[in-house]
Protein backbone atom coordinates (compact mmCIF):
# COMPACT_ATOMS: atom_id res chain seq x y z
CA UNK A 1 0.00 0.00 0.00
CA UNK A 2 2.20 2.80 -1.21
CA UNK A 3 0.91 6.18 -2.15
CA UNK A 4 2.15 6.07 -5.74
CA UNK A 5 0.26 2.95 -6.71
CA UNK A 6 -2.96 3.38 -8.57
CA UNK A 7 -6.09 1.69 -7.23
CA UNK A 8 -7.02 -1.76 -8.49
CA UNK A 9 -10.69 -0.86 -8.33
CA UNK A 10 -12.19 2.56 -8.13
CA UNK A 11 -15.80 3.62 -8.02
CA UNK A 12 -17.12 7.13 -8.33
CA UNK A 13 -20.62 8.37 -7.66
CA UNK A 14 -21.92 4.80 -7.48
CA UNK A 15 -25.66 4.75 -6.79
CA UNK A 16 -28.35 2.14 -6.78
CA UNK A 17 -32.05 2.85 -6.54
CA UNK A 18 -34.82 0.34 -6.13
CA UNK A 19 -37.70 2.44 -7.39
CA UNK A 20 -37.68 5.48 -5.13
CA UNK A 21 -35.74 3.70 -2.40
CA UNK A 22 -32.03 4.39 -2.22
CA UNK A 23 -29.80 1.39 -1.53
CA UNK A 24 -26.49 3.06 -2.28
CA UNK A 25 -26.12 6.79 -2.60
CA UNK A 26 -23.29 8.43 -4.51
CA UNK A 27 -20.47 6.27 -3.20
CA UNK A 28 -16.79 6.90 -3.94
CA UNK A 29 -14.49 4.07 -3.07
CA UNK A 30 -10.98 2.95 -3.98
CA UNK A 31 -9.23 -0.33 -3.33
CA UNK A 32 -5.47 -0.63 -3.71
CA UNK A 33 -3.42 -3.75 -4.55
CA UNK A 34 -2.66 -5.81 -1.47
CA UNK A 35 -5.18 -3.92 0.62
CA UNK A 36 -8.10 -5.28 2.58
CA UNK A 37 -11.01 -2.94 2.86
CA UNK A 38 -13.83 -3.70 5.26
CA UNK A 39 -17.30 -2.33 4.77
CA UNK A 40 -19.17 -2.32 8.06
CA UNK A 41 -22.60 -1.19 9.08
CA UNK A 42 -25.88 -2.54 10.38
CA UNK A 43 -28.31 -4.68 8.40
CA UNK A 44 -30.02 -2.73 5.66
CA UNK A 45 -27.31 -0.08 5.46
CA UNK A 46 -26.59 -1.06 1.85
CA UNK A 47 -23.27 -2.83 2.36
CA UNK A 48 -24.24 -6.00 0.51
CA UNK A 49 -25.70 -3.95 -2.33
CA UNK A 50 -22.44 -2.04 -2.54
CA UNK A 51 -20.49 -5.29 -2.71
CA UNK A 52 -22.74 -6.52 -5.50
CA UNK A 53 -22.23 -3.27 -7.40
CA UNK A 54 -18.45 -3.39 -6.99
CA UNK A 55 -18.29 -7.01 -8.10
CA UNK A 56 -20.60 -6.35 -11.11
CA UNK A 57 -23.21 -8.78 -9.77
CA UNK A 58 -25.68 -5.91 -9.85
CA UNK A 59 -26.06 -3.04 -12.30
CA UNK A 60 -25.63 0.42 -10.73
CA UNK A 61 -28.19 3.13 -11.46
CA UNK A 62 -25.40 5.63 -11.99
CA UNK A 63 -21.69 6.14 -11.40
CA UNK A 64 -18.43 4.82 -12.80
CA UNK A 65 -16.53 1.66 -11.95
CA UNK A 66 -13.01 1.10 -13.22
CA UNK A 67 -10.78 -1.93 -12.69
CA UNK A 68 -7.05 -1.98 -13.37
CA UNK A 69 -6.17 -5.29 -15.02
CA UNK A 70 -3.05 -7.42 -14.62
CA UNK A 71 -1.34 -5.47 -17.39
CA UNK A 72 -2.15 -2.15 -15.69
CA UNK A 73 -4.65 -0.94 -18.25
CA UNK A 74 -7.90 0.50 -16.91
CA UNK A 75 -11.08 -1.44 -17.72
CA UNK A 76 -14.46 0.25 -17.60
CA UNK A 77 -16.56 -2.44 -15.95
CA UNK A 78 -19.86 -0.86 -16.89
CA UNK A 79 -19.25 -1.18 -20.63
CA UNK A 80 -17.26 -4.41 -20.52
CA UNK A 81 -18.76 -7.09 -22.79
CA UNK A 82 -20.34 -10.00 -20.93
CA UNK A 83 -17.84 -12.58 -22.22
CA UNK A 84 -14.84 -10.56 -20.99
CA UNK A 85 -16.57 -9.78 -17.72
CA UNK A 86 -17.05 -13.49 -17.06
CA UNK A 87 -13.47 -14.22 -17.96
CA UNK A 88 -12.33 -11.56 -15.51
CA UNK A 89 -14.61 -13.01 -12.86
CA UNK A 90 -13.09 -16.44 -13.34
CA UNK A 91 -9.45 -15.47 -13.58
CA UNK A 92 -8.70 -12.25 -11.70
CA UNK A 93 -11.54 -12.09 -9.19
CA UNK A 94 -12.96 -14.24 -6.46
CA UNK A 95 -16.24 -14.16 -4.59
CA UNK A 96 -16.70 -15.75 -1.18
CA UNK A 97 -20.32 -15.84 -0.13
CA UNK A 98 -21.82 -15.94 3.31
CA UNK A 99 -23.74 -19.11 2.53
CA UNK A 100 -21.30 -21.61 1.04
CA UNK A 101 -24.22 -23.25 -0.72
CA UNK A 102 -24.42 -20.21 -3.01
CA UNK A 103 -20.72 -20.29 -3.79
CA UNK A 104 -20.19 -24.04 -4.21
CA UNK A 105 -21.68 -26.73 -6.37
CA UNK A 106 -23.13 -28.94 -3.68
CA UNK A 107 -23.60 -31.97 -5.98
CA UNK A 108 -19.99 -31.91 -7.15
CA UNK A 109 -17.00 -33.26 -5.20
CA UNK A 110 -14.52 -30.96 -3.43
CA UNK A 111 -11.95 -31.63 -6.15
CA UNK A 112 -14.45 -30.80 -8.89
CA UNK A 113 -15.40 -27.60 -7.10
CA UNK A 114 -11.81 -26.45 -6.90
CA UNK A 115 -10.99 -27.65 -10.42
CA UNK A 116 -13.94 -25.99 -12.12
CA UNK A 117 -12.22 -22.66 -12.70
CA UNK A 118 -9.16 -24.40 -14.09
CA UNK A 119 -11.28 -26.36 -16.54
CA UNK A 120 -13.14 -23.19 -17.46
CA UNK A 121 -9.89 -21.53 -18.49
CA UNK A 122 -8.84 -24.49 -20.57
CA UNK A 123 -7.08 -27.05 -18.36
CA UNK A 124 -7.65 -30.44 -19.95
CA UNK A 125 -5.32 -32.73 -18.05
CA UNK A 126 -7.12 -34.65 -15.33
CA UNK A 127 -4.01 -35.48 -13.31
CA UNK A 128 -2.80 -31.87 -13.35
CA UNK A 129 -6.22 -30.52 -12.33
CA UNK A 130 -6.42 -33.02 -9.50
CA UNK A 131 -2.93 -32.24 -8.26
CA UNK A 132 -3.61 -28.51 -8.26
CA UNK A 133 -6.94 -29.05 -6.50
CA UNK A 134 -5.41 -31.24 -3.81
CA UNK A 135 -2.64 -28.69 -3.27
CA UNK A 136 -5.23 -26.02 -2.62
CA UNK A 137 -7.25 -28.26 -0.33
CA UNK A 138 -4.10 -28.74 1.74
CA UNK A 139 -3.49 -25.03 1.85
CA UNK A 140 -6.97 -24.40 3.25
CA UNK A 141 -6.47 -27.25 5.74
CA UNK A 142 -8.84 -29.78 4.23
CA UNK A 143 -7.42 -33.31 4.25
CA UNK A 144 -6.61 -34.39 0.70
CA UNK A 145 -8.31 -37.69 1.48
CA UNK A 146 -11.61 -35.83 1.28
CA UNK A 147 -11.06 -34.62 -2.26
CA UNK A 148 -13.85 -36.84 -3.61
CA UNK A 149 -16.37 -36.00 -0.89
CA UNK A 150 -19.20 -33.65 -1.73
CA UNK A 151 -19.51 -30.39 0.23
CA UNK A 152 -22.83 -31.45 1.74
CA UNK A 153 -20.97 -33.79 4.09
CA UNK A 154 -18.58 -30.99 5.12
CA UNK A 155 -18.99 -28.82 8.22
CA UNK A 156 -19.78 -25.12 7.87
CA UNK A 157 -16.18 -24.10 8.42
CA UNK A 158 -14.87 -26.64 5.91
CA UNK A 159 -17.36 -25.49 3.29
CA UNK A 160 -16.20 -21.95 3.76
CA UNK A 161 -12.56 -22.99 3.39
CA UNK A 162 -13.47 -25.02 0.31
CA UNK A 163 -15.11 -21.94 -1.14
CA UNK A 164 -11.91 -20.03 -0.59
CA UNK A 165 -9.84 -22.74 -2.29
CA UNK A 166 -12.27 -22.75 -5.22
CA UNK A 167 -11.72 -19.03 -5.65
CA UNK A 168 -7.99 -18.96 -5.00
CA UNK A 169 -7.07 -21.68 -7.49
CA UNK A 170 -6.74 -19.23 -10.38
CA UNK A 171 -4.73 -16.85 -8.15
CA UNK A 172 -7.11 -13.90 -8.29
CA UNK A 173 -5.97 -10.34 -7.56
CA UNK A 174 -9.20 -9.14 -6.04
CA UNK A 175 -11.57 -11.05 -3.79
CA UNK A 176 -15.00 -10.00 -2.59
CA UNK A 177 -16.27 -11.51 0.63
CA UNK A 178 -19.76 -11.20 1.98
CA UNK A 179 -19.80 -11.99 5.71
CA UNK A 180 -17.30 -14.85 5.24
CA UNK A 181 -17.46 -15.81 8.92
CA UNK A 182 -21.22 -15.39 9.36
CA UNK A 183 -22.92 -18.35 10.98
CA UNK A 184 -19.71 -20.02 12.16
CA UNK A 185 -18.87 -20.54 15.81
CA UNK A 186 -16.05 -18.47 17.20
CA UNK A 187 -13.21 -21.01 17.21
CA UNK A 188 -13.99 -21.90 13.59
CA UNK A 189 -14.16 -18.20 12.79
CA UNK A 190 -10.74 -17.66 14.29
CA UNK A 191 -9.23 -20.42 12.17
CA UNK A 192 -10.84 -19.04 9.02
CA UNK A 193 -9.66 -15.52 9.77
CA UNK A 194 -6.15 -16.86 10.30
CA UNK A 195 -6.27 -18.56 6.95
CA UNK A 196 -7.59 -15.47 5.17
CA UNK A 197 -4.92 -13.30 6.74
CA UNK A 198 -2.25 -15.70 5.55
CA UNK A 199 -3.60 -15.84 1.99
CA UNK A 200 -4.00 -12.09 1.74
CA UNK A 201 -0.41 -11.53 2.84
CA UNK A 202 1.07 -14.36 0.79
CA UNK A 203 -0.63 -13.50 -2.49
CA UNK A 204 -0.80 -9.73 -2.01
CA UNK A 205 -4.52 -10.02 -2.47
CA UNK A 206 -6.79 -7.04 -2.57
CA UNK A 207 -10.03 -7.79 -0.79
CA UNK A 208 -13.33 -6.15 0.00
CA UNK A 209 -15.00 -7.67 3.03
CA UNK A 210 -18.52 -6.88 4.03
CA UNK A 211 -19.16 -7.57 7.68
CA UNK A 212 -21.29 -6.44 10.55
CA UNK A 213 -18.73 -7.90 12.94
CA UNK A 214 -16.24 -5.20 13.89
CA UNK A 215 -13.87 -7.78 15.36
CA UNK A 216 -13.54 -9.38 11.92
CA UNK A 217 -12.86 -5.97 10.41
CA UNK A 218 -10.25 -5.26 13.09
CA UNK A 219 -8.41 -8.52 12.45
CA UNK A 220 -8.48 -8.60 8.67
CA UNK A 221 -8.72 -5.15 7.22
CA UNK A 222 -6.32 -2.29 6.72
CA UNK A 223 -9.01 0.27 6.07
CA UNK A 224 -12.66 0.41 6.97
CA UNK A 225 -15.68 2.23 5.62
CA UNK A 226 -18.73 2.64 7.83
CA UNK A 227 -22.05 2.65 6.00
CA UNK A 228 -25.39 4.01 7.09
CA UNK A 229 -28.55 4.44 5.03
CA UNK A 230 -26.76 3.81 1.75
CA UNK A 231 -23.97 6.28 2.39
CA UNK A 232 -20.41 5.94 3.59
CA UNK A 233 -20.25 8.09 6.70
CA UNK A 234 -16.63 7.50 7.59
CA UNK A 235 -13.54 5.91 6.02
CA UNK A 236 -10.12 5.51 7.50
CA UNK A 237 -7.46 3.18 8.83
CA UNK A 238 -9.24 0.40 10.68
CA UNK A 239 -7.52 0.88 14.02
CA UNK A 240 -8.03 4.62 13.84
CA UNK A 241 -11.73 4.41 13.04
CA UNK A 242 -12.41 1.72 15.62
CA UNK A 243 -10.36 3.35 18.38
CA UNK A 244 -11.35 6.91 17.68
CA UNK A 245 -14.50 7.11 15.58
CA UNK A 246 -15.35 10.57 14.32
CA UNK A 247 -18.87 10.27 12.99
CA UNK A 248 -21.67 9.96 15.56
CA UNK A 249 -22.96 6.80 13.91
CA UNK A 250 -19.49 5.18 13.96
CA UNK A 251 -19.25 6.08 17.64
CA UNK A 252 -22.61 4.40 18.24
CA UNK A 253 -21.59 1.32 16.27
CA UNK A 254 -18.26 0.93 18.06
CA UNK A 255 -19.79 1.46 21.47
CA UNK A 256 -22.49 -1.14 20.73
CA UNK A 257 -19.98 -3.98 20.65
CA UNK A 258 -20.24 -6.19 23.72
CA UNK A 259 -17.03 -6.45 25.67
CA UNK A 260 -16.13 -9.86 27.00
Amino acid sequence: MTGEESPILSAQGLSKFYGSRVACDNIDIEIYPGEVLAIAGESGSGKSTLLNLLSTQAEPSSGTLVYRGRDGSPIDLRTLPEARRRHLLRTEWGFVRQDARDGLRMNVSAGGNVGERLMAIGWRNYAAIREEASGWLQRVEIETGRIDDKPDVFSGGMRQRLQIARNMVTKPRLVFMDEPTGGLDVSVQARLLDLLRGLVAEHRLAAVIVTHDLAVARLLSHRISIMKDGQIVETGLTDQVLDDPAHPYSQLLVSSVLQV
Binding site: E82, A83, R86, R90, R105, V108, S109, G111, G112, G115, E116, R117, M119, A120, I121, R124, N125, Y126, A127, I129, R130, I147, D148
Partner: protein, 281 residues
Amino acid sequence: MNAAPEYNFAYLDEHTKRMIRRAILKAIAIPGYQVPFASREMPMPYGWGTGGVQVTAAILGRYDVLKVIDQGADDTTNAVSIRRFFQKTAGVRTTTRTEEASIIQTRHRIPEAPLKEGQVLVFQVPIPEPLRFLEPRETETRRMHALEDYGVMHVKLYEDIARHGQIATTYAYPVKVADRYVMDPSPTPKFDNPKMNDCPALQLFGAGREKRIYAVPPYTKVVSLDFEDHPFERTRVAGSCELCGSGGVFLDEIVTGDDGARIFVCSDTDHCANARDREAQ
Protein backbone atom coordinates in the same frame (compact mmCIF):
# COMPACT_ATOMS: atom_id res chain seq x y z
CA MET B 1 -59.95 -49.00 -47.03
CA ASN B 2 -57.61 -46.08 -47.45
CA ALA B 3 -57.86 -43.70 -44.48
CA ALA B 4 -55.22 -41.28 -45.74
CA PRO B 5 -57.53 -38.53 -47.07
CA GLU B 6 -58.74 -37.81 -43.54
CA TYR B 7 -55.31 -36.42 -42.68
CA ASN B 8 -53.18 -33.75 -44.23
CA PHE B 9 -50.05 -35.32 -45.74
CA ALA B 10 -47.88 -36.54 -42.84
CA TYR B 11 -50.47 -35.47 -40.24
CA LEU B 12 -49.28 -31.90 -39.58
CA ASP B 13 -50.88 -28.96 -41.38
CA GLU B 14 -48.77 -27.14 -43.97
CA HIS B 15 -48.22 -24.03 -41.84
CA THR B 16 -46.84 -26.07 -39.00
CA LYS B 17 -44.55 -27.94 -41.36
CA ARG B 18 -43.25 -24.64 -42.74
CA MET B 19 -42.60 -23.40 -39.22
CA ILE B 20 -40.66 -26.57 -38.40
CA ARG B 21 -38.72 -26.39 -41.70
CA ARG B 22 -37.66 -22.86 -40.86
CA ALA B 23 -36.36 -24.09 -37.50
CA ILE B 24 -34.54 -26.97 -39.25
CA LEU B 25 -32.92 -24.59 -41.76
CA LYS B 26 -31.72 -22.38 -38.95
CA ALA B 27 -30.42 -25.42 -37.06
CA ILE B 28 -28.45 -26.55 -40.12
CA ALA B 29 -27.04 -23.06 -40.52
CA ILE B 30 -25.75 -23.05 -36.93
CA PRO B 31 -24.53 -26.62 -36.31
CA GLY B 32 -25.21 -27.82 -32.78
CA TYR B 33 -27.28 -24.78 -31.77
CA GLN B 34 -30.65 -25.54 -30.20
CA VAL B 35 -33.37 -23.72 -32.13
CA PRO B 36 -36.65 -23.24 -30.24
CA PHE B 37 -39.76 -24.19 -32.19
CA ALA B 38 -43.48 -24.29 -31.48
CA SER B 39 -43.74 -28.00 -30.81
CA ARG B 40 -47.23 -29.37 -31.45
CA GLU B 41 -49.32 -31.79 -29.52
CA MET B 42 -48.93 -35.13 -31.32
CA PRO B 43 -51.17 -38.18 -31.09
CA MET B 44 -48.64 -39.97 -28.90
CA PRO B 45 -47.26 -39.32 -25.43
CA TYR B 46 -44.18 -37.21 -24.80
CA GLY B 47 -41.16 -39.45 -24.55
CA TRP B 48 -42.34 -41.56 -27.46
CA GLY B 49 -40.62 -39.45 -30.06
CA THR B 50 -42.93 -36.48 -30.60
CA GLY B 51 -39.94 -34.30 -31.52
CA GLY B 52 -38.55 -36.78 -34.03
CA VAL B 53 -42.00 -37.37 -35.52
CA GLN B 54 -42.53 -33.65 -36.09
CA VAL B 55 -39.14 -33.28 -37.78
CA THR B 56 -39.85 -36.31 -39.96
CA ALA B 57 -43.32 -35.00 -40.83
CA ALA B 58 -41.87 -31.65 -41.86
CA ILE B 59 -39.23 -33.10 -44.22
CA LEU B 60 -41.14 -36.10 -45.54
CA GLY B 61 -41.96 -36.07 -49.28
CA ARG B 62 -44.13 -38.44 -51.33
CA TYR B 63 -41.16 -40.33 -52.75
CA ASP B 64 -39.23 -40.71 -49.53
CA VAL B 65 -38.57 -44.14 -48.11
CA LEU B 66 -38.87 -44.19 -44.33
CA LYS B 67 -37.14 -46.43 -41.84
CA VAL B 68 -37.84 -46.19 -38.12
CA ILE B 69 -35.69 -47.81 -35.45
CA ASP B 70 -35.94 -47.99 -31.70
CA GLN B 71 -32.71 -49.03 -29.94
CA GLY B 72 -31.52 -50.19 -33.35
CA ALA B 73 -34.49 -52.49 -33.89
CA ASP B 74 -37.15 -52.14 -36.59
CA ASP B 75 -39.63 -54.39 -34.84
CA THR B 76 -40.14 -52.85 -31.38
CA THR B 77 -43.34 -51.06 -30.35
CA ASN B 78 -42.10 -47.52 -30.79
CA ALA B 79 -40.61 -48.20 -34.23
CA VAL B 80 -43.62 -50.14 -35.47
CA SER B 81 -46.16 -47.56 -34.33
CA ILE B 82 -44.29 -44.57 -35.76
CA ARG B 83 -43.80 -46.42 -39.06
CA ARG B 84 -47.53 -47.21 -39.17
CA PHE B 85 -48.33 -43.62 -38.30
CA PHE B 86 -46.59 -42.34 -41.41
CA GLN B 87 -47.91 -45.16 -43.58
CA LYS B 88 -51.39 -44.12 -42.58
CA THR B 89 -51.02 -40.34 -42.68
CA ALA B 90 -48.59 -39.94 -45.59
CA GLY B 91 -48.85 -43.23 -47.46
CA VAL B 92 -45.07 -43.28 -47.98
CA ARG B 93 -43.06 -46.38 -48.66
CA THR B 94 -41.34 -47.77 -45.58
CA THR B 95 -38.42 -50.12 -45.26
CA THR B 96 -36.29 -51.84 -42.68
CA ARG B 97 -33.17 -51.70 -44.87
CA THR B 98 -30.76 -48.91 -43.97
CA GLU B 99 -29.38 -48.57 -47.53
CA GLU B 100 -32.84 -48.16 -49.07
CA ALA B 101 -34.10 -45.49 -46.69
CA SER B 102 -33.95 -41.79 -47.48
CA ILE B 103 -35.14 -40.83 -43.98
CA ILE B 104 -34.29 -42.84 -40.87
CA GLN B 105 -35.98 -41.86 -37.64
CA THR B 106 -34.11 -43.27 -34.68
CA ARG B 107 -34.29 -43.59 -30.96
CA HIS B 108 -30.90 -44.24 -29.32
CA ARG B 109 -28.89 -45.76 -32.17
CA ILE B 110 -27.10 -44.93 -35.38
CA PRO B 111 -27.33 -47.87 -37.82
CA GLU B 112 -24.27 -50.09 -38.26
CA ALA B 113 -24.34 -49.72 -42.05
CA PRO B 114 -22.51 -46.56 -43.10
CA LEU B 115 -24.87 -43.73 -44.03
CA LYS B 116 -24.73 -42.10 -47.44
CA GLU B 117 -25.11 -38.64 -48.89
CA GLY B 118 -28.76 -37.77 -49.36
CA GLN B 119 -29.91 -39.70 -46.33
CA VAL B 120 -31.37 -37.94 -43.29
CA LEU B 121 -31.09 -39.33 -39.79
CA VAL B 122 -33.77 -37.98 -37.41
CA PHE B 123 -33.08 -38.41 -33.70
CA GLN B 124 -35.74 -38.41 -30.98
CA VAL B 125 -34.35 -36.35 -28.12
CA PRO B 126 -35.64 -36.31 -24.53
CA ILE B 127 -33.33 -33.67 -22.99
CA PRO B 128 -31.54 -31.49 -25.54
CA GLU B 129 -29.54 -29.40 -23.06
CA PRO B 130 -26.11 -30.90 -22.29
CA LEU B 131 -25.51 -28.35 -19.52
CA ARG B 132 -28.70 -29.21 -17.65
CA PHE B 133 -26.94 -31.59 -15.23
CA LEU B 134 -24.99 -28.73 -13.67
CA GLU B 135 -27.11 -25.68 -14.46
CA PRO B 136 -30.87 -25.93 -14.04
CA ARG B 137 -31.68 -22.39 -15.24
CA GLU B 138 -32.53 -22.19 -18.95
CA THR B 139 -31.67 -18.47 -19.11
CA GLU B 140 -28.24 -19.27 -17.76
CA THR B 141 -27.54 -22.26 -20.05
CA ARG B 142 -28.45 -20.19 -23.11
CA ARG B 143 -26.06 -17.49 -21.98
CA MET B 144 -23.36 -20.11 -21.41
CA HIS B 145 -23.82 -21.41 -24.97
CA ALA B 146 -23.70 -17.87 -26.33
CA LEU B 147 -20.45 -17.14 -24.50
CA GLU B 148 -18.93 -20.59 -25.06
CA ASP B 149 -18.72 -20.88 -21.29
CA TYR B 150 -18.31 -24.66 -21.21
CA GLY B 151 -16.10 -25.26 -18.14
CA VAL B 152 -18.87 -27.12 -16.33
CA MET B 153 -19.01 -29.79 -19.04
CA HIS B 154 -15.58 -30.96 -17.99
CA VAL B 155 -16.59 -30.82 -14.33
CA LYS B 156 -19.09 -33.55 -15.16
CA LEU B 157 -16.41 -35.68 -16.79
CA TYR B 158 -14.01 -34.91 -13.93
CA GLU B 159 -16.60 -36.21 -11.47
CA ASP B 160 -16.91 -39.40 -13.48
CA ILE B 161 -13.21 -40.10 -13.35
CA ALA B 162 -12.96 -39.15 -9.66
CA ARG B 163 -15.75 -41.53 -8.78
CA HIS B 164 -15.28 -44.39 -11.21
CA GLY B 165 -11.67 -44.13 -12.35
CA GLN B 166 -12.79 -43.48 -15.90
CA ILE B 167 -15.34 -41.47 -17.81
CA ALA B 168 -18.40 -43.50 -16.91
CA THR B 169 -20.82 -41.63 -19.15
CA THR B 170 -21.80 -44.27 -21.68
CA TYR B 171 -24.73 -42.59 -23.41
CA ALA B 172 -25.70 -38.99 -24.13
CA TYR B 173 -21.96 -38.40 -24.18
CA PRO B 174 -21.39 -34.67 -24.85
CA VAL B 175 -19.79 -33.60 -28.12
CA LYS B 176 -18.51 -30.35 -29.56
CA VAL B 177 -19.90 -29.60 -33.01
CA ALA B 178 -17.87 -27.68 -35.60
CA ASP B 179 -15.54 -26.34 -32.85
CA ARG B 180 -18.33 -24.24 -31.41
CA TYR B 181 -21.44 -25.62 -29.70
CA VAL B 182 -21.47 -28.36 -27.10
CA MET B 183 -24.30 -30.71 -27.96
CA ASP B 184 -26.07 -33.64 -26.37
CA PRO B 185 -26.22 -36.35 -29.03
CA SER B 186 -29.48 -37.66 -27.46
CA PRO B 187 -29.24 -40.91 -25.49
CA THR B 188 -27.29 -42.74 -28.19
CA PRO B 189 -24.61 -44.99 -26.71
CA LYS B 190 -21.18 -43.39 -26.93
CA PHE B 191 -20.28 -46.33 -29.15
CA ASP B 192 -22.08 -44.40 -31.91
CA ASN B 193 -20.43 -41.01 -31.23
CA PRO B 194 -17.58 -41.48 -33.74
CA LYS B 195 -20.16 -42.15 -36.48
CA MET B 196 -21.48 -38.61 -36.11
CA ASN B 197 -18.15 -37.10 -37.09
CA ASP B 198 -17.77 -36.24 -40.78
CA CYS B 199 -20.95 -38.19 -41.55
CA PRO B 200 -22.17 -37.90 -45.18
CA ALA B 201 -25.82 -37.91 -44.04
CA LEU B 202 -27.70 -34.98 -42.54
CA GLN B 203 -28.44 -35.47 -38.82
CA LEU B 204 -31.48 -33.74 -37.34
CA PHE B 205 -32.51 -33.78 -33.68
CA GLY B 206 -36.03 -33.09 -32.45
CA ALA B 207 -37.07 -32.65 -28.81
CA GLY B 208 -40.87 -32.39 -28.64
CA ARG B 209 -41.45 -31.73 -24.96
CA GLU B 210 -38.49 -29.35 -24.68
CA LYS B 211 -39.42 -27.67 -28.00
CA ARG B 212 -35.95 -27.66 -29.52
CA ILE B 213 -34.50 -28.68 -32.88
CA TYR B 214 -30.79 -28.94 -33.64
CA ALA B 215 -28.72 -30.35 -36.45
CA VAL B 216 -25.37 -31.64 -37.62
CA PRO B 217 -24.97 -30.93 -41.35
CA PRO B 218 -23.21 -33.51 -43.57
CA TYR B 219 -19.43 -33.71 -43.20
CA THR B 220 -19.30 -31.70 -39.96
CA LYS B 221 -16.64 -32.14 -37.31
CA VAL B 222 -18.08 -33.75 -34.17
CA VAL B 223 -15.66 -34.30 -31.30
CA SER B 224 -16.44 -36.10 -28.05
CA LEU B 225 -15.24 -34.13 -25.01
CA ASP B 226 -12.45 -35.69 -22.94
CA PHE B 227 -9.25 -35.09 -20.98
CA GLU B 228 -5.72 -35.36 -22.39
CA ASP B 229 -4.88 -38.17 -19.99
CA HIS B 230 -8.34 -39.76 -20.16
CA PRO B 231 -9.16 -39.66 -23.87
CA PHE B 232 -12.56 -40.57 -25.28
CA GLU B 233 -12.87 -44.30 -25.76
CA ARG B 234 -15.49 -46.02 -27.79
CA THR B 235 -17.25 -48.70 -25.77
CA ARG B 236 -15.50 -51.96 -26.52
CA VAL B 237 -17.94 -54.71 -27.26
CA ALA B 238 -16.56 -58.07 -26.25
CA GLY B 239 -17.76 -61.01 -28.25
CA SER B 240 -19.99 -61.24 -31.27
CA CYS B 241 -23.66 -61.62 -32.09
CA GLU B 242 -25.14 -65.00 -31.19
CA LEU B 243 -27.41 -64.96 -34.25
CA CYS B 244 -25.26 -63.64 -37.09
CA GLY B 245 -21.76 -63.80 -35.66
CA SER B 246 -20.97 -60.12 -36.33
CA GLY B 247 -18.18 -58.66 -34.23
CA GLY B 248 -17.42 -55.01 -33.51
CA VAL B 249 -21.09 -54.04 -33.46
CA PHE B 250 -23.27 -52.83 -30.60
CA LEU B 251 -24.87 -55.81 -28.84
CA ASP B 252 -28.04 -56.13 -26.76
CA GLU B 253 -28.25 -58.55 -23.89
CA ILE B 254 -31.29 -60.85 -24.14
CA VAL B 255 -32.40 -62.95 -21.20
CA THR B 256 -33.47 -66.32 -22.56
CA GLY B 257 -34.70 -68.21 -19.54
CA ASP B 258 -35.73 -68.09 -15.91
CA ASP B 259 -32.39 -69.58 -14.90
CA GLY B 260 -30.62 -66.38 -15.95
CA ALA B 261 -29.42 -67.69 -19.30
CA ARG B 262 -28.62 -64.87 -21.68
CA ILE B 263 -27.33 -64.23 -25.14
CA PHE B 264 -25.91 -61.18 -26.88
CA VAL B 265 -27.38 -60.19 -30.21
CA CYS B 266 -27.01 -57.27 -32.62
CA SER B 267 -28.94 -54.20 -31.51
CA ASP B 268 -29.28 -53.28 -35.21
CA THR B 269 -31.83 -55.84 -36.49
CA ASP B 270 -31.33 -54.85 -40.13
CA HIS B 271 -27.59 -55.40 -39.87
CA CYS B 272 -28.20 -58.76 -38.19
CA ALA B 273 -30.67 -59.94 -40.85
CA ASN B 274 -28.34 -58.89 -43.68
CA ALA B 275 -25.42 -60.71 -42.12
CA ARG B 276 -27.50 -63.88 -41.77
CA ASP B 277 -28.74 -63.57 -45.38
CA ARG B 278 -25.21 -63.31 -46.65
CA GLU B 279 -24.22 -66.35 -44.66
CA ALA B 280 -27.17 -68.37 -45.97
CA GLN B 281 -26.20 -67.72 -49.59
